[in-house]
């Protein structure tokens, strides 16, 4: 796995840009973790969050619909349509727990996800 380390963040190569559908998500394997990676093409932005929806612990967020609520980019879990901010991970529908978010950077055709070192 290609990885570089800077400022306590490990950047690893997740996939190529065209591996991710426009305005949709994919699931990335990082060791034993699952990370949902989204290409928010309408705004030219990339986001990454944990793949597990905290509501029923389902590995499904990468298969959810993305969109916005006012200006806030969000993803809706396919199971019960709980929505989460892609920026902060905060749940936008009620009091569910929040989700973890990751930094993403694109260099050429390569998409990297930044994982904080523990």
């Amino acid at each position: 796995m290609l990885a570089t380390i800077e400022k306590n963040i490990t950047w690893f190569l997740a996939c190529k840009t065209n591996d991710v559908p426009t305005n949709g998500g994919v699931c990335v394997k990082y060791n034993d973790d699952q990370i949902a990676l989204f290409h928010f093409a309408r705004r030219g932005e990339w986001y990454a969050t944990q793949n597990e929806c905290p509501h029923r612990q389902q590995m499904a967020l990468s298969r959810g619909l993305i969109g916005s609520q006012s200006e806030e980019p969000k993803v809706a879990c396919p199971f019960h349509k709980k929505t989460f901010s892609l920026k902060t991970g905060e749940c936008l529908t009620g009091d569910e727990c929040s989700i973890k978010t990751y930094e993403v950077k694109v260099e050429g055709n390569n998409v990297f996800i930044g994982v904080a070192q523990s």
């Binding site: 591996d19 426009t22 029923r56």
Partner: protein, 833 residues
């Protein structure tokens, strides 16, 4: 001011919320001591724990809420002693803390009658989440159950037993009728009959003498010497105020329990208050949540220099017990010389309504509603606001019969001071101003704005009515717009997409919407595009606008695996094809089940395996069944005249022809059809969106039927049709529906909202009153002609096929978190928490 709250239930939480809402929080120093290990949770909806809600779902607020509001919360640490002279409390874990004001919100415990044997294993009370967890564990080995108590809580407990899978459950009530505090005997009889049809065995005037069994309960013995066998018993015979701490501290308590309070909810020690079910006000303990909230508000108001006092509280209540509406309002039992009652009883439908009115017929005093409580809110407001009754008072429960429509003043006739949401003490005027001043135009916005309807939820329909009326009064054009990104209804959007010839979701958003879209508008727009142009739903970037099921052409199931449903038109299948289904299911280790629509569903397929599974199915002659789409599902058929000695026509052949005509058609919601070969109706066609039943002369066509949560029989549209005319009519009917229905609206609801109803629909479809028939038939023919199996296209197109992997960077790895268990020789997915 140092405030200590003893107890952390719903009323305790509400007190804190109300106090904080009054502002000036810096001057308060709030500490809560609770006995239970969890922060306050919603005890009213406890039974939802069994229908899938988790303990966290039931929390009034997460633990973090207390910290955010500078409230110190000690859970699992009950107060054991109050030292009134030094104004301090001592907790179980040894904390000693001083107070200026002490709030007792200790609630109540279950009243357990002194019956010999109550200590046996398998005897439970129904009060806390822990009780429910213990019941759940025990229920696994129980087959018959009983509940002592036929009141509100007892019937809730009986529902819990049914939810736990113990359908053989007895309800034992000491009084001669069910819910003796709320309803009369005639009402009780109707309720009893309804509950018995659900499998409950109801015994009234029954006194339990002994609980038998050696260590564990095995039966119950009654004072009339009868007995029953039971493995599990829940006692829910009433509540007992938790007043032991108050008693120990020398505060006055009632002879039958309850901490005595004045109209400011002060106990005999003016710096100690009692609120909720532990308080005794004018000889009465209030065992409902709404008066408890009102008490919380009174104390919060008095601590912030408001002058509110607590008065006799209205105990009107409406609830759904095991699916049956039960309501009682005002004075349900009042009788006397100057009082009359109007009673309506329908034992067929299980409906009972009683209203008590003054002798002059002008004022409503109270009443009872069973089986149909739709008028509850309006009737309660009529009592509370002394609204003058119409000349024929029975109209308020029966609706106006004959003559002009009732002029249904409805919510309009209410004064602005009328309390609409009693949990939050909100008046009609406050809800109107949420619309006019705060600009709320959805129920969710109102809930956020002033919390209306967030307690018991009973007033939500009325709040919605008030909102719509207020919006109309402001001259707003009220319609169902899709979401914040499209200010159009589905019907308007359908026409606009067609006029502008838009082909992708992004084009539609750019031309007609704003923002970035969301999960509410993407699926309906994608559906409109498919209905209009008939293109493969995953092409042109529309894949990420499809709901998850459409996007992966399969139904997502618990655990994240998918189910596979090939089309079996009319339910007819050859032995060879059956064998292929068996082979595929075996090879990919799939759980198999026959569906309600005469097909075979194969569950537990990993995303990665879907293309290979479908490749095998398609090679064997199968095609997509569209079980994942808002589209035609099945056309169910009986075996018809080819085999059946009663059959008039060949229903199977006709069903196959129709299913193949409309397969893949996208619509506002799913569509189901049925064809029966004779009047015996074995295909249950009248429960379908369109149903066809053979007659001597041809086919009768019925439309807009529905199973589901609100079953409705299809209505007769046309009679004695030949094959071609019947299809022509279905073409027109479906196109009219697809073009005009709101999103996620089945044909039954669509018809119910249509002005003129079935007569209007018949005019449009049969008599062509809109002159659209030719165009609709032509448009349908285009869609029929461009049908292709989506799965065939998906597996042949490498760009689409590569999306069927769980990990983008490890395509060969399946989701490792999926765990299966075994059940009846097949697999099942591990249940979620």
């Amino acid at each position: 001011m140092k405030i200590i709250v003893v107890g952390n239930g719903m009323v305790s939480y509400k007190f804190c919320e109300k106090l904080i809402a009054k502002g000036n929080t810096a001057s308060f120093d709030i500490t809560i001591f609770g006995e239970e290990i969890r922060p306050a949770y919603d005890r009213v909806h406890l039974s939802e724990f069994f229908s899938g809600k988790s303990a966290d779902d039931l929390l009034m607020a997460p633990a973090s809420w207390y910290a955010e509001n500078n409230i110190i919360l000690h859970t699992g640490d009950p107060i054991q002693q109050i030292d009134r002279s030094n104004k301090t409390v001592h907790s179980f874990k040894g904390i000693t803390q001083s107070y200026d004001v002490l709030i007792l919100a200790t609630g109540s415990s279950a009243f357990v009658p002194p019956i010999p044997g109550v200590e046996k294993d398998g005897v439970f009370i129904y009060r806390t989440i822990e009780d429910l967890e213990m019941m759940t564990a025990y229920a696994k080995k129980a087959t018959t159950g009983a509940v002592i108590g036929g009141g509100l809580l007892g019937l809730e407990a009986a529902k819990a037993m049914i939810d736990l899978g113990i359908t053989d459950t007895h309800v034992i009530e000491f009084a001669p009728r069910l819910m003796p505090r709320q309803i009369d005997e005639a009402g009780s009889n109707i309720l009893k009959a309804k509950l018995q049809t659900l499998g409950l065995k109801i015994h009234t005037s029954k006194n339990t003498a002994e609980i038998t069994g050696n260590g564990c309960i095995d039966g119950m013995l009654f004072s009339d010497d009868t007995k029953i066998d039971v493995d599990m018993l829940v006692i829910s015979a009433g509540i007992k105020p938790r007043d032991e701490l108050a008693k120990l501290s020398g505060l006055e308590v009632g002879t039958r329990g309850g901490i005595v309070v004045n109209n400011k909810l002060q106990t005999t020690d003016p710096s100690i208050y009692a609120i909720g079910e532990c308080a005794l006000f004018e000889g009465m303990v209030y065992g409902l949540v709404a008066p408890g909230y009102e008490m919380a508000d009174v104390v919060a108001s008095n601590l912030t220099n408001g002058g509110k006092v607590f008065g006799a509280y209205d105990m009107s209540t409406k609830l759904k017990l095991i699916g049956v509406d039960v309501a009682s309002f005002g004075d349900p039992f009042v009788a006397g010389d100057n009082v009359r009652s109007v009673v309506f009883e329908d034992t067929m439908k299980g409906i009972y309504k009683r209203i008590n009115i003054t002798g002059d017929g002008k004022q409503l005093l109270g009443g009872i509603l069973i089986g149909d409580a739709e008028q509850y809110n309006m009737l309660l407001q009529t009592v509370k606001n002394k609204v003058v009754l119409p000349p024929n008072p029975e109209d308020v429960i029966l609706g106006s019969r004959g003559g002009e429509s009732d002029g249904g003043a409805g919510v309009l006739s209410l004064p602005d001071e009328a309390i609409v949401c009693s949990c939050e003490s909100l008046t009609k005027g406050m809800i109107c101003s949420a619309v006019t001043e705060a600009g709320c135009e959805t129920i969710d916005a109102i809930k956020k704005c002033n919390k209306a309807g967030t307690g018991c939820g009973g007033c939500v329909p009325m709040v919605k009515d008030i909102m719509l009326h207020t919006m109309k009064a402001q001259g707003k054009y009220v319609r169902n717009v899709l979401c914040e990104h499209f200010n159009y209804s589905r019907q308007e959007l359908f026409d606009l997409v067609k006029i502008h010839e838009l082909k992708t979701y992004d084009e539609v958003l750019d031309h007609l919407g704003k923002g970035d879209g969301c999960e509410l508008c993407k699926p309906p727009v994608a559906s409109i595009l498919a209905s209009l142009w008939g293109e493969m739903i995953l092409k042109k970037g529309n894949d990420t606008a499809q709901d998850s099921n459409d996007r992966f052409l399969a139904n997502i199931q618990k655990g994240g695996t998918y189910s596979v449903v090939p089309r079996i038109p009319g339910g007819e299948i050859t032995p060879d094809k059956l064998i292929v289904l068996g082979q595929v299911a075996k090879q990919y280790n799939l759980y198999t089940k026959i569906t309600g629509g005469q097909r075979i569903d194969m569950f537990g397929a990993h995303l990665n395996d879907l293309p290979a599974i479908w490749e095998k199915l398609i090679n064997a002659g199968f095609e997509s069944g569209h079980a994942y789409g808002k589209s035609l599902r099945t056309v169910k058929s009986c075996v018809g005249s080819t085999w059946c000695r009663f059959g008039l026509h060949d229903s199977v052949s006709y069903a196959i022809r129709i299913e193949e005509r409309y397969r893949g058609l996208r619509s506002p919601h799913k569509i189901k059809g049925g064809v029966s070969g004779c009047i015996r109706e074995c295909a249950e066609a009248k429960s379908k969106d369109f149903g066809i039943i053979a007659t001597e002369k041809g086919w009768n066509l019925y439309v807009c039927g529905n199973g589901g949560s609100k079953p409705q029989h299809a209505l007769l549209l046309a009679t004695d049709l030949d094959d071609e005319t019947c299809i022509q009519y279905i073409d027109r009917f479906l196109m009219f529906y697809i073009k005009t229905a709101d999103t996620l609206t089945r044909t039954a609801t669509w018809l119910n909202k249509m002005e003129g109803g079935i007569d209007y629909l018949r005019n449009v479809v049969v008599n062509d009153s809109l002159g659209m028939s030719q165009q609709w038939e032509a448009e349908m023919q285009v869609l029929v002609d461009c049908y292709k199996c989506e799965w065939k296209e998906a597996i042949e197109n490498p760009e689409i096929r590569k999306r069927f992997n769980h990990f983008v960077n490890a395509p060969e790895v399946k989701d490792p978190t999926v765990v299966f268990e075994e059940m009846r020789d097949q697999k099942k997915v591990r249940d979620w928490k």
